[in-house]
């Protein structure tokens, strides 16, 4: 059946951001450390794409590379193209300093984890909104009207929050205020790097459900980076699984959760403590993730993979379209479900 599928690669019909062969390297004394290795992925207009990876898998680098925000001395190579709704595609890695400033915030904006460190502690929240509007030559009165609307969309009391300093708000409130701030210049795309990681479970889920509403209301495209697969599974349309600086599998949330074709994804699904699964079905992943300065040749997962053959250790696996809109980077994708048994149906019904 797989043979009949056209090998389409990462292309999709209406992308907002296309990343092609994007790598980020750090030049170390003896050898280069590759923290993002040849990643190609589309962010499609109007979708929520969840990027899932363990810590140190390069998931933040992917978001940073998408807005050319990798810090020195990191070197970003490859192509990142932004496709505005109307107008010509923009080569993001080629933008000048001023163009980048405009591109960030007005077209693509980013929310980091830990809102407290994103806000200036000596300026009230109103100041942040006004400063951002002024710096981008927006009408402040009109902008503040939008700010109040955004804050109340996020279940915040605008008057109270605007007059507060970041430290006077709880973690969940300041994180929501930060999301409102990131949307003040009406960007098309929101990149979110673990935006809920430091928060309580209840606040995480509440923010996620607010995000789903806000995305509809403001016509956003969201890239949501997290280490927490179950958290994003219900929110995201598609999921991209990163392992050790390279993409392992990309597919819709259903395909990944129900029918993953990559041994790492399956092992990850198995390893996640889950409320519904019988506790016996949870198994840890053997071994540890590689260091960026010593990534294995061939498939990065090969040293931990139960399916690894000689081929896996020597060559990088090609992308295979395993079904419509679902691709896996594995030589043995068709054996993955047998080697790493994981049946969500069984697990959920138990």
């Amino acid at each position: 059946m797989q043979d009949t599928l056209q090998q389409r690669g990462p292309d999709s019909a209406d992308p907002v951001i296309t990343a092609r062969n994007v790598s980020v390297t750090y030049d170390l004394e003896h050898r280069d450390a590759m923290v993002l290795d040849d990643v190609s992925i589309d962010l499609r207009r109007g979708e929520i794409l969840g990027v899932v990876g363990e810590s140190g898998s390069g998931k933040s680098m992917l978001a940073n590379a998408m807005m050319d925000a990798v810090e020195e001395p990191g070197i970003t190579t490859g192509e990142v193209t932004y496709h505005p709704e109307d107008g010509d595609p923009v080569d993001v890695l080629d933008l000048s300093h001023d163009e980048l400033n405009e591109f960030r915030w007005e077209e693509v904006s980013m929310v980091f984890q830990g809102a407290l460190s994103s806000f200036n502690p000596t300026m009230d929240i109103r100041g942040h909104f006004e400063e951002t509007l002024e710096a981008h030559d927006y009408d402040v009165d009109e902008g503040m009207e939008r700010a109040r609307q955004l804050l109340s969309d996020l279940y915040l009391n605008p008057d109270r929050v605007l007059d507060s300093y970041a430290h006077e708000l709880s973690g969940g409130m300041s994180q929501r205020a930060l999301i409102a701030l990131s949307l003040i210049l009406e960007p098309q795309v929101l990149l979110m790097d673990e935006p809920t990681a430091a928060l309580d479970l209840l606040m995480q889920r509440s923010i996620l459900s607010l995000l789903a509403d806000i995305k509809e209301k403001y016509d956003l495209t969201i890239l949501f980076i997290t280490h927490d697969l179950p958290l994003v599974a219900g929110l995201a349309d598609r999921l991209a699984i990163l392992y050790a600086f390279e993409l392992a599998e990309v597919g819709t949330a259903e395909q990944i959760a129900h029918n993953s074709k990559h041994p790492y994804t399956r092992a990850l699904l198995q390893a996640v403590p889950n409320l519904d699964a019988p506790t016996e079905s949870m198994r840890p992943i053997e071994g540890t993730a590689p260091n960026p300065a010593h990534v294995p040749d061939g498939c990065h997962y090969a040293p931990r993979c139960p399916l690894a053959t000689k081929e896996c250790h020597n060559e990088s696996p090609p992308w295979v379209d395993v079904e419509e809109d679902h691709r896996s980077a594995c030589f043995h994708y068709d054996e993955a479900d047998e080697a790493v048994p994981f049946d969500l149906e069984e697990v959920s019904d138990a």
């Binding site: 209840l202 996620l208 459900s209 996640v272 403590p273 992943i285």
Partner: protein, 383 residues
């Protein structure tokens, strides 16, 4: 209440002696710091971190405490292992009041030093819990040198190596001579665990001990805790904000889950009962907040609370503390506080919830619903 708290129970060979730690009506209050001018005019604000909690920890048991940050779960955990002095109530170790032993009050049956040794803790961030300038071996030798100064170097090392080997760090000689930064997060946490185990403790407080670890390491680390529990007969008080982790550990060990809200335990019992059939509305809310792996089963519904922000613990709401957010709150909840019941403290007490809704004859059912209660959605729960 049972006789375990009366002075008569303060003896070694009491029939209840498999209860290691016993807390009775414990409250912990913190006073907020004041400026000098403020302190002349105002009473200091007090935060009620823990209010009126009674709980028993038997040998070889797991108690998982779950709640939002600021609910007092860490303070309660520290009180259980005798690190935090309670403002009210008593904490006893095998019948001996811990703080009487500490202060040398009354007839001390068990020395405070022995109690201290028997109650250990592992912290959330293993990187911060280990001295970065010391080798693993030096870190691990320190407690043995302090408590057993006569032990020979060979014996000490043999003991440390055996334990390192036991937690899967092979070869132990190699790991013992590393610095903490040369270990992964999971390995650092295992060192912290070995340090606690060297004292042969009765109870270990694991405060968010797996939260900082990678997803793929969490199950592994919890499995290790369970294995060690069986082997060393240690009880764990496991603090987590994550229901899935708490369930895993409590279920595998046959222990209990306690749900905390603003300093109170609102529901406690075996994990399957508390999680599959929560009685307290707050437990239901936490259940809603825990993501399901299956995207199709997981709908993005609005939060089933009337306010998503937690109230200020300085002025906790009157009556039932959850009534300001509770989707089921009625007038009576504003004035009267529901009790958890007397059975809740003991491990055999089954499931208990502090909510009027568990009592079909309570006046709650004739009381007027509060504003917004009708509008709030009920949590979506698939059984």
């Amino acid at each position: 209440m049972s006789d375990r708290a009366t002075p008569a129970a303060n003896s070694w060979d009491d029939e209840d002696d498999d209860i290691v730690m016993s807390l009775e009506d414990v409250s912990v209050h913190f006073e907020k710091e004041q400026g000098i001018v403020e302190s002349m005019f105002d009473e200091p604000e007090t935060v009620q971190a823990v209010s009126d909690v009674s709980i028993d920890i038997p040998e070889n048991d797991v108690l998982a405490l779950v709640g939002e940050s600021g609910c007092g779960k860490t303070t309660l955990g520290k009180t259980i292992i005798g690190v935090q002095r309670p403002t009210e109530g008593t904490v006893s170790y095998r019948g001996q009041d811990v703080w009487d032993a500490r202060d040398g009050r009354g007839d001390v049956q068990i020395e405070h030093d022995d109690i201290r040794k028997a109650l250990q803790m592992i912290h959330q961030d293993p990187g911060a819990a280990l001295n970065p300038n010391r080798k693993v071996l030096t870190t691990l030798e320190a407690p043995l040198k302090k408590w057993d100064p006569d032990m020979s170097t060979e014996d000490r090392r043999a003991r440390i190596f055996a334990l390192l080997d036991r937690v899967g760090m092979e070869p132990p000689e190699d790991y013992a001579h590393r610095f903490p930064h040369q270990l992964s997060g999971g390995e650092q946490q295992r060192i912290a665990l070995v340090r606690a185990l060297l004292m042969n403790p009765d109870v270990i407080l694991a405060d968010e001990a797996v939260s900082a670890l990678d997803v793929s390491l969490r199950v592994e680390t919890m499995d290790l805790l369970l294995e060690l529990q069986e082997q060393f007969n240690t009880s764990f008080v496991f603090i987590s904000h994550n229901l899935s982790n708490a369930r895993y550990l409590a279920k595998e060990a046959g222990g209990r889950i306690g749900i905390m809200y603003l300093g109170e335990i609102v529901e406690i019992g075996p994990p399957e009962e508390v999680l599959n059939d929560p009685q307290h509305p707050y437990s239901k809310v936490l259940r809603w907040a825990t993501a399901d792996l299956d995207p199709t089963a997981q709908k993005m519904t609005d939060p089933p609370v009337r306010s998503i922000d937690i109230p200020d613990p300085v002025n906790p709401p009157s009556g039932c503390r959850f009534h300001t957010r509770c989707p089921e709150a009625r007038e009576v909840c504003k004035t009267e506080s529901p009790e958890l019941g007397e059975d809740a403290a003991s491990p055999g007490g089954g499931r208990c919830a502090a909510c009027f809704r568990t009592d079909p004859d309570h006046e709650y059912w004739d009381s007027e619903p509060l504003d917004g209660v009708d509008d709030a959605e009920s949590p979506v729960l698939e059984d």
